[in-house]
Amino acid sequence: MAIDCLVLGAGQEVGKSCVIVSINGKRIMFDCGMHMGYADHRRYPDFSLISKSADFNSALSCIIITHFHLDHIGALPYFTEVCGYNGPIYMTYPTKALAPLMLEDYRKVMVGRGEEEQFTYENILDCMKKVTAVDLKQTVQVDKDLQIRGYYAGHVLGAAMFYASLGDAAMVYTGDYNMTPDRHLGAAQIDRMQLDVLITESTYATTIRDSKYAREREFLKAVHKCVSNGGKVLIPTFALGRAQELCILLDDYWERMNLKVPIYFSAGLTMQANLYYKVLINWTSQKVKDTYATRNAFDFKNVHSFDRSLLDAPGPCVLFATPGMISGGFSLEVFKHWAPSEANLITLPGYCVAGTVGHKLMSGKPTKVDLDKDTQIDVRCQIHQLSFSPHTDAKGIMDLVKFLSPKHVVLVHGEKPKMDLLKARIKSELGIQCYDPANTETVSFPSTHFVKADASNTFIRSSLTPNFEFLKDEAKAMAPLEVRDGRVTEGILAMEKGQKVKILHQDELLTMIGTEKTEVEFGYCFALRLCSLKRVLPAIEEVSVFDENLLLSVLNMKLSNEVGLQDRVGSLEVNSFRLSICKNNSCPHRSNGDSDGSYEGMFFCCNWSNLDMKLAWRVISLLKNMDSSVDLTNKMPFNNVER
């Protein structure tokens, strides 16, 4: 039984996340992303490694998509519609609702750039029809054995971490997640579980981030300054996620500062996205959720649809436009118009792919940007770089790993040098095995396995009954009584040919076999001289009616430092060991030398079962030593009690 992780994408890199995990033979594909940085075959994960014959339906049990970002879902329409995968696909409701927007947006950009179309709009719709939407914490039975379950991951709307278990083996794939809540999303949440493997992203493997509020303030200040000077603000952004977060931020700020400057959303696409956010408000943070009844937080008051005619209209405004990296489309068009003016402001996302205008603007402070051979644009406007990121930082990753304490950790979705550092930290600080396989590499782990057996009721009941041990510190009279549950589950495992393994209580075994118990007992009757007893109990001869119980309890006191015997009337007992005063002169346990009757003293008869052999001999030797300390002629000195 084993778990194998085959990394097809995002191994020691960011982009085209795709991990194939096989748990005890069942294979699950986690994410099916594409790489934004490539336009050739490297754009997609190498699916041929899943199945040589390209029979993906039998090779995979299911596909799980964690969220709607293209580097996690971008290759899905290609895989289902072009490669022909027809099996189950799972994602959360918001992901299912929003993914088509992302994919279509991307497809349009690709076509707009004149690249070869990888899949059509119909492909996207057909692909989404195969998707089963799941709710958070909803436990989905993929097949008879395989269970999956999503947990809130923050990051973007509908992002989820997925738990998968088969038999006793269990693992979690995080996708991208955020351990701190932001404007509109909550922090990732997961239950504590027994895991064999945790596959986690490690985008910020070494970064520790400070509070976000400072950076938010900075952003708002820059925007406010610009509009109050009559400038226009261009916020190039992707339709989903960041746009809504910034919009909540701005809408809120506008409200507080009583600003009247219009905020525009560029295309119908983004407005449409807001509608989804409104309906799916249950997937946002608690704070936002609580507002739904009075005013849905995504019902932006100051936000309007942008009309192309407003492009060169005078007066300040704020505009959200797609795509995010100014790689083309409307945001580039707006950029052309607004960049030459010093009063205007352009905010850039935290990360831009090389080759885009955004990337050019980020590197240094260019005054001119070449769009193509013929067009060159003067850049005089101000540039503000956003550094919000919905990814967890190193502390968050460490916290999650520590919280889940899996047997193994696999790092993906990060940069190699940083991952190495994090890997070392996880190994040294948490003592957990950690791996960072490269693309197309496989790592294997043994999986947890439990042996199954049928347990009888008596056994279960006996093990569920607490066995209290009362420990009292005798030294301190006022010490509180310490109660401990000293229960140990004990039973008997029986294996009969051709039958399931059974666990029975000890008493049931004999009934099952059909025999009776045979006791093996030990007996020993020995004498202690009266003179030595006198040392223990000086009044022994004065007590006319011999008080045996008194004698026994005095002896018990003497022994109490060494062994704790329980004083029952007429005998001292512990476990199966029993000591009493013997008056039977022909006691069978009496050894020959002692049974002549002439002996002046008292006979003590002991019996015990072999379970308490050691203890019994110890008690006996203690009693005898008490005797021998005065009478050195005793024939059997037990000097070394413990062998």
Partner: protein, 679 residues
């Protein structure tokens, strides 16, 4: 109430709202153009006279003019609330009685409900409390219970229909009447509810895994699946195979359970109880209406037929019929009053009304009057996860899941908290269509509007079938307005039950007793047991064994010993037992295993000769002696004299070794062990 694995589980805690009808509604002078104000007469209602005078047995003066009390589940109050471990709420209706329970001293049970159920239930309870305030204001804050108003004789003299409601058929239900809880009780109650999603696994006490699966009746309503270490139980409440609003009945999830408790008997309008081991309770499905067996479907009994037949299309026809009737009334200048408590139906009606109004040339406003309507409607538009497929498709294609949101924006629907709201009075125009909560026609806006319209022959009242209409409408008589009674699907149709049960293949089915005539003939193919209200039913114990998971490291440490002349291999097993997620695990102990492992239990026979031989092998010598011991039973004795003295007595079931020599004792016992089986 079910006892499973030692836990007491209560399913649902509703209110019997139909019992509200015994109270007279409050009247306000505003609408008081009827001859006599129903309730303002006096408190000492002349009961007997009314009975003699009229043909009818009941007159509105018979109704009890007092602050209403509420009827909870019969005999639940006899239960010690602190003995309940788990409460499972399947629908918002099943939650209305919950605050009575949660405010009881010593109540500490864990309450589970789906997120949507809890929220919708909260809206209903808040509305109930708010509506009840009207009564409070009317009757003043005095604390007397309505029961105290009556002497026993007066109670006896009540018309039989009322008496039955108050006392129950056998006169035992008097104790289930309670004064209404407060808003604070509702809040407290909700704080104690643990909300779940569909198919979310909740683990109670590490032993029971509780899962809710959609039942299709209402948004968020569910059936339950309970999984303990020993058996799985499915609890099926009122379910609808395909609903126009809520997520469809997920019956596949209940496949192959050990026990299936079937308590969806809308067709019996039933109050049911379920018992197992030593517990009982009853469930009152409050406002459920009945389905008339209009069609006979003799279809192939398989899963597809259950699904294929589109129940929702039939429902749509009914709704369309309501709409067209309403439109006719409006055209005739009358208003339409729709007091319906079922959210799903209201939502569908709103959409249909908008269509009907658009297609006709009449412009008529729709008013929704309820203290929680605004929040409620806002809430319905943010729970796509709980809705049926075609509503979810709307989400994916970017349309709003319900039409009402837009209709409100377009000012076709207006929402008001109460009939007195200033905005309502400003907007008010007749004819109009009013949608408001039902509350047995005794609480809230419906009262005022009925008083206003009951004499108008053009107006229309749309009622859900199932309640005692006569009694409900009593205070508003004589009634001139049209009354349309309609039944909505509120459970599985009877003819679909056997195929469903056959398909789910439970090992045992529990059905309410009154269904015996129907199901007893089928018992050959369906393993059924019938339960009675208030009675305990003990289930046969199916399986004495339960599964235990042993950690591999522990399993590999085991030392096996093969039994003599037997095919059995046994091993002593020591570890720590954990119960987690309904599974039992045995893990290796943290403390080191004791080095010395001696058998603790022995069985088998020892005869002296072989013992003597065995002893000689290890250098112990002795001789056999026959002794007659004191007790009369002969026992064989073996005297050992080398290397030390010892006496070994061999009896039927015991062997006693007496010696003063410690090492000799262990030598002898070793020899004995080789002859015995032991562990």
């Amino acid at each position: 109430m079910v006892n499973l694995c030692g836990f007491h589980i209560l399913f649902d805690c509703p209110l019997d709202l139909s019992a509200l009808t015994i109270f007279s509604p409050i009247s306000t002078s505003l609408y008081e153009h009827t001859s006599a104000a129903p309730s303002s007469d006096s408190l000492d209602t002349p009961v007997v006279g009314a009975m003699l005078e009229t043909e009818k047995l009941l007159d509105r003066t018979n109704l009890i003019p007092a602050e209403p009390y509420y009827k909870t589940v019969e005999r639940l109050h006899l239960w010690n609330a602190s003995l309940i471990d788990v409460v499972l709420i399947s629908s918002p209706m099943g939650m209305l009685g919950l605050p009575f329970l949660t405010r009881t001293d010593g109540f500490s049970a864990k309450i589970y409900a789906t997120e949507a159920t809890a929220r919708l239930g909260q809206f209903m309870m808040e509305d109930l409390v708010a509506m009840h305030m009207e009564f409070k204001q009317f009757y003043g804050p005095n604390e007397t219970s309505f029961l105290q108003l009556f002497k026993w004789e007066e109670l006896e003299a009540l018309p039989p229909a009322l008496k039955e409601i108050i006392l129950g058929k056998d006169g035992t239900e008097l104790g289930s009447w309670m004064p209404l809880y407060s808003a604070a009780d509702v809040r407290d109650c909700l704080r104690k509810v643990q909300t779940l999603k569909y198919a979310e696994e909740a683990c109670y006490n590490g032993t029971l895994i509780i899962k809710a699966f959609s039942s299709g009746l209402e948004i968020g309503s569910c059936n339950w699946s309970l999984k303990g270490p020993k058996r799985n139980i499915s609890y099926i409440s009122s379910s609808v195979f395909s609903s126009g609003v809520a997520m469809d009945f997920n019956f596949q999830a209940h496949l192959g359970s050990d026990v299936l408790i079937y308590s969806d008997f809308a067709s019996w309008n039933g109050t049911n109880c379920v018992g197992d081991e030593n517990s009982c309770s009853s469930l009152v499905t409050g406002g459920d209406c009945s389905i008339t067996g209009d069609n006979e479907y003799t279809r192939e009994l398989n899963a597809d037929s259950l699904l294929n037949f589109d129940e929702s299309s039939e429902e749509m026809e009914k709704l369309n019929f309501i709409c067209s009737c309403s439109m006719n009334s409006v055209k005739a200048g009358g208003s339409v009053l729709i007091p319906i408590g079922r959210l799903g139906i209201v939502l569908q009606l709103l959409e249909l009304f908008a269509l009907h109004i658009d297609s006709s040339d009449v412009k008529v406003p729709i008013f929704i009057i309820s203290s929680v309507a605004e929040e409620l409607l806002a809430y319905t538009s943010i729970l796509p996860e709980w809705l049926c497929k075609h509503r979810q498709e709307k989400l994916y294609s970017g349309k709003p899941v319900f039409g009402h949101e837009e209709l409100i924006k377009e000012k076709k629907i207006h929402i008001f908290p109460t009939v007195h709201s200033h905005e309502l009075l400003m907007m008010w125009q007749e004819p109009c269509i009013v949608v408001c909560p039902h509350w047995s026609l005794r609480l809230g806006p419906v009262v005022h509007l009925l008083q206003r319209w009951h004499a108008d022959p053009n107006s229309l009242l749309v009622l859900e079938e199932g309640i005692d209409t006569d009694l409900a409408l009593l205070p508003y008589k004589p009634i001139a307005m049209k009354v349309l009674e309609c039944s909505f699907l509120s459970g599985i149709k009877l003819e679909k039950v056997p195929p469903l049960l056959k398909m789910l293949q439970p090992k045992l089915i529990l059905l309410p007793d009154h269904t015996k005539p129907y199901f007893a003939p089928l018992s050959e193919s369906l393993p059924c047991l019938f339960y009675l209200e208030d009675e305990t039913l003990r289930l046969p114990n199916s399986n004495n064994l339960s599964e235990l998971h042993i950690a591999t490291d522990l399993a590999s440490q085991l030392t096996w010993s093969k039994m003599k002349n037997n095919e059995l291999t046994i091993s002593r097993l020591t570890g720590e037992l954990f119960v987690d997620n309904g599974k039992r695990y045995l893990l290796a102990e943290k403390r080191p295993m004791p080095y010395e492992i001696r058998p603790l239990v022995h069985w088998g026979k020892v005869d002296l000769e072989s013992l003597l031989l065995a002893l000689e092998k290890i250098g112990v010598k002795g001789s056999i002696e026959k002794v007659k011991s004191d007790d009369g039973y002969g026992s064989n004795v073996l005297n050992v004299f080398e290397p030390g003295k010892a006496l070994i007595q061999v009896k039927e079931t015991s062997i006693v070794i007496s010696t003063s020599d410690k090492s000799l004792a262990s030598l002898v016992s070793d020899a004995v062990h080789t002859l015995l089986d032991g562990i």
